[in-house]
């Protein structure tokens, strides 16, 4: 082991740091492939029921607030940018920059969850759109609208759960970064957490048009 720093960062089962780095990313990509199938089942179900009950799904979609949905999309895209810049800082061994961007990402992630919870779900509940709890919408196609809201709450709920997990992961990274755990040779955890965070962003990139926009708002 010529380089003592590399020796500390390298786990003994790997040939070199390059291989270790690739193995970490590959593991996360395979996990994300299973996540694609997890969300894919929901998307397939949504596609089928939307086509069977199109008028009700369009009516349900029109009850959602596009402005808040778009703002939340922007919040998530900002968080993806700060995460990408954070990974870059870790790559370059800039501890302070990494800490700053991790805190930004964490704050934006929490902002997304808060907006979702207080401005959307709470509003939807008070309006009587929560299936099984207080669904009291009585307009045309009410049964299909109820089905739409089942999908809406399940899909956004599962997505928000992923956000909560991401916030937890970021908190751990923040604590490790504070202790100076990461460096140019050792930032795989930041890189893989970044992959996860961007994936959750991509899920929202599809949820936003599918739930809020697809029926047209004209």
């Amino acid at each position: 082991m010529a380089d003592s720093h590399a020796g500390a960062a390298l786990a003994h089962q790997f040939e070199d740091l390059e291989q270790q780095h690739e193995a970490a990313s590959l593991g996360m990509w395979i996990f994300l492939a299973t996540e694609v199938m997890f969300f894919g089942g929901l998307f397939a179900g949504y596609t089928i029921y939307r086509n069977l009950y199109m008028p009700g799904f369009d009516a349900g979609s029109h009850l959602l607030n596009v402005t808040i949905g778009a703002i939340n999309t922007a919040v998530l895209i900002c968080s993806s940018l700060t995460m990408a810049l954070g990974v870059r800082a870790a790559q370059l061994g800039k501890r302070k920059t990494l800490l700053t961007f991790l805190i930004c990402t964490l704050a934006l992630g929490l902002a997304f969850i808060l907006i979702k919870l207080t401005l959307e779900w709470r509003h939807d509940y008070l309006e009587g759109f929560a299936p099984g709890l207080n669904f009291t919408f009585a307009g045309p196609h009410a049964k299909s609208v109820e089905l739409f809201f089942c999908f809406y709450f399940l899909m956004t709920g599962v997505h928000a759960l992923h956000m909560v997990v991401g916030v937890g992961v970021l908190s751990v990274l923040l604590a490790l970064a504070w202790k100076g755990h990461f460096g140019p040779q050792r930032y795989n955890a930041v890189e893989t957490a970044g992959l996860y965070w961007h994936f959750v962003d991509i899920v929202w990139i599809f949820l936003f048009p599918l739930l809020y926009l697809i029926g047209g708002r004209y």
């Binding site: 690739e22 199938m37 894919g40 049964k143 299909s144 994936f199 990139i205 048009p209 926009l213």
Partner: protein, 121 residues
């Protein structure tokens, strides 16, 4: 140094493009394009996802192994969605023989509106 260090400028360009596409997809929804509304929304979402995967997730600079994983994920997703939808949407294309009447699987029909509240209370 491990991995490819992407210039900050690239990240900011992609960020700008993603915000612009979000504004585009939101404004397109307010135009009446018929069934093209759905196609436009999904096409823009696919563009945004591609940008995130290629640049933010570094796939552009990754090894072929990572690409194989992503492509296989998309392949299984395509199988999941295409086979499920072809089943559902082609069920009524051919007449069902009379002798199969008992094992018939009709498409669920929308519930009648007047039985709405009664079933609930």
């Amino acid at each position: 140094m491990l991995g490819h260090v992407v210039p900050k400028k690239t990240y900011f360009l992609i960020f700008g493009a993603l915000l612009a596409l979000t504004a585009l997809t939101t404004s397109v929804a307010y135009l009446n394009l018929g069934q093209w509304n759905t196609i436009a929304a999904l096409a823009i979402a696919c563009c945004k996802a591609t940008l995130v995967v290629l640049f933010f997730m570094h796939l552009r600079w990754s090894t072929r192994l990572m690409r194989v994983v992503l492509i296989s994920a998309l392949l299984w997703l395509a199988i999941l969605i295409s086979l499920t939808t072809t089943d559902f949407f082609s069920r009524n294309w051919t007449p069902i023989p009379e002798s199969w009447e008992t094992s018939r699987l009709p498409l669920p029909s929308p519930p009648a509106q007047d039985e709405l509240r009664t079933s609930r209370q």
